[in-house]
């Protein structure tokens, strides 16, 4: 009991909880996943004006002063310059201030022992520069101290605003959900997903049932052969299987070649009918599993029951509808819900086949979109928080659908009372 609950918690409950937690953050590859960081960057300075921060303050924040005070001189001694140069700086520049790097460099040029290399000039500039720009602070207090050290005075309200605007780390937010609701793509992707799951499922389960029943009424040698053939998609590696399909539908592939001999112009058929192939490819993979379960379920029906149906006057179609299918309610429920969940959440075949294309979001499904958002973004900014939001919605749909299925198939009635009483 204990190991089981630990495993369940560790590998199932915690990941879902974490996803839920992440969905309320702005985490992305820009923010990183560590805590607060306050930086005034050039970009933030532009932003500040837009957010109505006083122009004088903005100027101060962007302001740089090169000051040869004790702290600056101490740093210069650390660089490792010629001692004559250091001495000359101490003598001639101590207490000076320059408003720009250009002016500083000009002053350095006047020295007898002037630094030859750019590297050294830059090092001196860095030692004496005083600014808030591009300094990284881990706490609000440090940020405040930094401002004070640079002689920048802000009132508390403005400081609060500054904290907000300069914080480049992730934040708690519900904006992901708002964005999801507001986005034009949400509906498109939702519709894609529903379309994909419904039709693949139909193909899957329907085809599996037809195969199982057809092979049931076949001589045993033939049925074994057929079942083995239908297992091929399942057991071939997905990349190879999809490659075969791509080759098959390519504009110089087998299909075009074959249709070409009938006078049809060669086409990239996958681009022409993306959904058809997405559904067929996934359907074939899923059908084999359903077929195995269904075939064994049909064989588990007592032979005498089917014989009785036969002498009672039921022809094969009636036997299927009135005896076989009702007796297979459980496996059908199992396969349908299992396949729904796996179709909702797995996307590798679509990823390999169309990657959501052709064009924009044509075959993009929810899970694939979550993957694209969080882990493989075209824009380079991986949005972990928003991806987690997408995943949470997916989990929610999965649970809701499972409950619906149990309802639909009258779970309580299906579970026979145990024969062994406690």
């Amino acid at each position: 009991m204990l190991p089981a609950s630990v495993t369940v918690t560790l590998f199932f409950v915690i990941p879902v909880m974490m996803t839920f937690v992440f969905s309320f953050t702005t985490m992305s590859s820009d923010t990183g996943i560590l805590g607060n960081r306050y930086i005034v960057t050039k970009a933030t300075i532009l932003d500040l004006t837009e957010h109505g921060i006083d122009a004088a303050l903005v100027r101060q924040l962007g302001h740089k002063v090169f000051r040869f005070n004790d702290a600056g001189l101490a740093k210069i001694r650390e660089i490792g310059l010629d001692s004559s140069l250091v001495k000359e700086i101490e003598e001639k520049l101590s207490g000076d201030e320059f408003a720009s790097e250009k002016a500083l460099f000009a002053a350095l040029k006047q020295l007898i022992n002037r630094p030859r290399s750019f590297k050294h000039r830059k090092a001196i500039s860095k030692s004496v520069v005083n600014t808030i720009t591009n300094q990284e602070f881990r706490t609000a207090a440090a940020f405040r101290a930094g401002l004070v050290a640079n002689g920048i005075k802000v009132d508390d309200a403005t400081f609060g605003q500054l904290l907000d605007l300069t914080n480049t780390s992730w934040r708690w937010t519900t904006d992901n959900y708002v964005e999801l609701l507001a986005s034009d793509f949400t509906f498109k992707i939702l519709a894609n997903t529903a379309f994909y799951v419904f039709f693949t499922l139909l193909f899957n389960v329907g085809f599996a049932l037809v195969l199982a029943l057809a092979t049931f009424y076949m001589p045993s040698g033939q049925s074994k052969f057929f079942r083995a053939v239908w297992l091929i998609p399942r057991i071939s590696p997905s990349v190879i299987y999809v490659m075969l399909w791509k080759w098959f539908t390519f504009d110089s592939g087998f299909m075009s070649y074959f249709l070409g001999s009938l006078g049809v112009e060669p086409e990239n058929w996958l681009n022409e009918f993306p959904w058809t192939f997405v559904i067929i490819v996934n359907g074939f993979v899923g059908a084999s599993m359903g077929m195995i379960i269904f075939a064994s379920a049909v064989l588990a029906i007592p032979a005498d029951v089917l014989r009785a149906a036969e002498v009672d006057g039921a022809y094969p179609m009636q036997q299927v509808r009135r005896i076989i299918l009702p007796l297979m309610a459980w496996p059908i429920l199992f396969i349908t819900s299992y396949q729904t969940l796996s179709l909702l959440t797995s996307f590798e075949y679509i990823l390999l086949l169309t990657d959501g294309g052709p064009g924009f979001f044509t075959t993009e499904t929810w899970a694939l979109n979550a993957y694209h958002t969080a882990l493989s973004n075209y824009f380079g900014n991986l949005r972990y928080g928003f991806g987690a939001t997408l995943a949470v919605v997916l989990v929610f749909f999965g649970v809701a659908l499972s409950l619906l299925y149990l309802r639909l198939f009258d779970f309580k009635k299906l579970v026979a009372e145990p024969l062994i009483e406690n």
Binding site: P302, D304, V305, R307, A308, A309, E310, V311, D312, G313, A314, Y315, Q318, R322, I323, P326, L327, A329, A416
Partner: protein, 352 residues
């Protein structure tokens, strides 16, 4: 409706289950297919209802040849040995199934199901599923389902095998009564000879895929055609002994007696090897033809007592007596047999 099998054969690959069987069953008659396990009873039944395709021969229902008809078109009610109720349907739906398949109106179905349920005393069970019924109840539901559409032919494959002794007795007469009332031609498969004798008009005794003899229970008992039938019918079973004909006498080790006239007159010749069969009730203390032996087994069956008598030649003869026990184990005694009731068989086992 009359059922006729003409030269019916059935083989499963190399196995010949039935060979050249001829069988005619009269309209409204109930016949028992009796025989040891594996003799082909179920195979015959399945051929009649169409579940098995015949390998050769023809099957007739009255004037209609049904040899190549599918089971759905034969109008045969079958009670399977396993009952084969539909597990997902209630008793009512089980019984209604053959009617629903034929698209009868709901009112008709309701009425017919209620009727047959009344006859079989299962009205209270109509709402239950097979899993919630006892074996005997399931058996009656299976019978109801077979009878509800008034079949021309009723086939029952060991329907009573799963029942306890009391219920079996009750169902015997019940089935017979319903069969008489509905007047359908019936075949009852069983390997219980008492069941066959008490329920059916005639018995067809099968052995190794062949019908050995057809007749009334009485004929089977008193006029068996061969040694197999004599041995199969009768409980406690008949005792056999081998011997030869000498001077118009049957001679075996420790046993010799004058052959009755009708056997002497028949084609036995001196030196011919024959066998005799003596039913236990024809070996009694006071019968004429004396035999001598040792009592090796005594079993009291309540009203009757069963003895085994071992003769000088080692043959065991069985006797059943209704009087008080007259001897004890190990006693050497003289009893007698009724020669006129002894069966004589030639070397092939055919009765003389």
């Amino acid at each position: 409706m009359e059922i006729r099998l003409e030269k019916f054969s059935k083989s499963f690959g190399p196995v010949n289950a039935i060979e050249d069987m001829d069988l005619a069953i009269g309209d409204g008659e109930m016949i028992a297919l009796l025989g040891p396990s594996g003799c082909g009873k179920t195979t015959t039944l399945y051929a009649i209802c169409g579940l098995h395709r015949v390998s050769a021969g023809r099957i007739w229902f009255g004037d209609r040849e049904v040899t190549h008809l599918v089971p759905q078109e034969r109008k045969v009610g079958v009670v399977f040995q396993s009952f084969a109720l539909y597990p997902h349907l209630s008793t009512f739906e089980n019984i209604a199934f053959p009617l629903q398949i034929r698209k009868e109106s709901n009112a008709d179905i309701e009425r017919k199901v209620k009727d047959i349920a009344n006859t079989l005393h299962i009205e209270e069970l109509l709402g239950r599923r097979p899993g919630q019924l006892s074996g005997g109840q399931q058996q009656r539901v299976a019978l109801a389902r077979a009878l509800v559409r008034r079949p021309d032919v009723l086939l029952m494959d060991e329907p009573l095998a799963n029942l306890d002794a009391g219920l079996r007795l009750e169902m015997r007469s019940e089935i017979r009564r319903i069969q008489r009332e509905s007047g359908c031609t019936s075949i009852l498969v069983t390997h219980d000879q008492v069941e066959a004798m008490s329920m059916c008009d005639r018995i067809a005794l099968m052995h190794k895929g062949k019908i050995q003899q057809i007749g009334t229970p009485d004929e089977m008992y008193h006029q068996p055609k061969n040694k197999f039938i004599a041995g199969f019918i009768g409980n406690p079973p008949i005792s056999f002994a081998d011997g030869v004909v000498e001077d118009g006498r049957f001679v075996a080790q420790g046993l010799s007696f004058e052959l009755p006239d009708q056997i002497k007159g028949a084609s036995v010749s001196a030196g011919q090897k024959i066998a005799i069969g003596v039913r236990p009730e024809y070996l009694q203390p006071d019968f004429a033809t004396a035999i001598e032996g040792e009592v090796t087994f005594i079993e009291s069956q309540g009203r009757e007592i069963l003895y085994d008598l071992k003769l000088g030649g080692g043959q065991i003869f069985r006797s059943i007596q209704s009087s008080e026990q007259t001897c004890k184990l190990g006693d050497q005694i003289h009893w007698g047999i009724d020669v006129n009731s002894v069966f004589f068989f030639d070397e092939q086992g055919v009765r003389l």
